[in-house]
């Protein structure tokens, strides 16, 4: 048992986000709607996307951008054991972006054969705390910045792209074919950006909802081209989970490594 714990702890230290085995997801009840309609969202993390069997997602950093670019508040927000939930009335025509952006810096180092980490889970990074708690010359010191985006999109009436403008920070997805205009039998093209510029050679994983009711995950693995774009065909209608992550050295101090991750869910309809 002892032999097993150490490699696991090192693996955990290398991936500072809780992205180890659990996939984060936001599941919208519908994505193609009319103005004034209500839509509800579940958000959680689990081994298989959309399966409510592990933990509710933390929605502290939930931001809903309305079609005119303003921020609107979710309604009836609550958190259960297995999923968090909130409602939204689509009062404006156009496309809404629902995003949870988690950022942070964490450090890990080797202290006499023991892996230490700071800050503790659920506590924020502060420069003062970092100066105080993290030994500058520790063995295998690794300071990692993480930027994680968890998104989904819904449209009332005609889609627009005001809410979809990239922020230019971390890994982001841009529509080439519409996020809420996805149909089986048609190919969809999206583009990944890193800090606002095309992200080439990014590995993208796509999983269809319903893994519980089939014997294989059947994930679709893709890679972005030089222009950051990738194209896929949807095997069947339903909800899809799409995710990618990139590691680089473009971190904010005191971090030296940066991990940018992006996850979104999309609804595909039959034509």
């Amino acid at each position: 048992m002892k032999n097993l714990i150490k490699p696991l702890a090192i693996a955990a230290a290398l991936l500072p986000l809780s992205a180890l085995a659990h996939k984060q997801w936001i599941a919208p009840s519908k994505t193609v709607l009319n103005v004034d309609q209500w839509v509800t969202f579940d958000a959680g993390s689990s081994t298989d996307p959309f399966v409510r069997d592990h933990n509710a997602a933390r929605l502290d950093n939930l931001v809903i951008t309305a079609p005119d670019g303003s921020t609107v508040a979710p309604e009836n927000q609550s958190s259960g054991k297995l999923r968090a939930t909130f409602d939204l009335q689509l009062k404006q025509p156009g496309t809404y972006k629902i995003a949870v952006v988690n950022t942070g810096i964490s450090a890990s180092w080797d202290d006499n054969g023991q892996t230490k980490r700071w800050p503790a889970r659920g506590t924020p990074f502060t420069p003062e705390g970092f100066a105080q708690e993290v030994p500058k010359k520790a063995k295998d010191l690794k300071v990692t910045q993480s930027i994680g985006r968890l998104e989904t999109f819904v449209t009332a009436g005609k889609p627009n792209d005001t809410a979809l403008k990239p922020t230019g920070k971390g890994l982001e997805l841009v529509q080439v074919t519409g996020f809420n205009d996805l149909y089986t039998g048609e190919s969809a093209t999206f583009q990944f950006l890193i800090d606002g510029k095309p992200a080439a050679d990014v590995e993208v994983e796509v999983v269809a909802d319903g893994t519980r009711y089939r014997s294989a995950v059947n994930e679709i693995e893709l890679k972005t081209g030089k222009d950051g774009r990738f194209t896929l065909e949807w095997p069947q209608p339903g909800l899809y989970w799409l995710s990618a992550s990139v590691q680089d050295k473009k971190a904010d101090k005191p971090a030296t490594e940066r991990r940018s991750s992006y996850t979104a869910s999309f609804e595909v309809l039959s034509p």
Binding site: L33, N34, D36, Q37, E75, N76, G157, D181
Partner: protein, 187 residues
């Protein structure tokens, strides 16, 4: 149950364009189901690139006249649900279920639209006449889409050409949500 709705769709577009005289009959089948709701139906003309040349008809549940928000619904509903029970837009919230129509043009229309939108129709044959002006020569499809609460969705399309060489009648048939469809095109 035969209605004749003469309709002229005009526009101010310049250029050499033609008109199409279309006589259309749509059959809404009588279905032996426990809970029957009349289908929502959309009829439009599609160009070869699937863009919409003309919206001809949309049947959906109209708002009831003089409907008011019940005080109980306004007071008792959580999270700003006031008015949801009164449904002032009629069945407009279900229009996205006419999925292709919604995607191709419905989501851009302001409803109700004069001469296009109307109440749902009972099972039976429904005849309509359209004089569609301003159609450049080319291949078109007349598309009929039906979606029914507690039921399914079906699309039937009828290809035709503008200008028509001779008067012709083109027939198509749905399998469940739509019955016989007959389109008569006159030059």
């Amino acid at each position: 149950m035969r209605h004749r709705i003469p309709l002229v769709l005009c526009s101010m577009l310049p250029g050499t364009v033609l008109a199409a005289n279309l006589d259309l009959t749509i059959e809404i089948p009588r279905l032996d189901v426990a809970e029957y709701h009349r289908p929502y139906v959309a009829v439009w003309l599609e160009r070869e690139d699937k863009s919409v040349a003309a919206n001809l008809a949309v049947w959906y549940q109209q708002p009831k006249k003089g409907e008011k928000v019940p005080a109980a619904a306004a007071a008792g509903a959580p999270g700003g649900m006031q008015g949801a029970a009164a449904n002032p837009q009629g069945g407009a919230k279900w229009l996205p279920d006419l999925r292709q129509w919604w995607r191709r043009s419905g989501r851009e229309l302001t409803l109700p639209a004069d001469g296009i939108t109307g109440a749902t129709r009972a099972p039976g044959e429904h005849a309509m006449s359209f004089n569609v002006a301003d159609l450049p020569a080319g291949q078109y499809k007349l598309v009929v889409e039906a979606a029914r609460e507690e039921g399914g969705r079906e699309l039937v399309d009828v290809p035709f050409q503008v200008p028509a060489k001779d008067a012709q009648v083109i027939k198509a048939k749905g399998s469940r949500e739509l019955g016989a469809i007959s389109l008569s095109v006159k030059p």
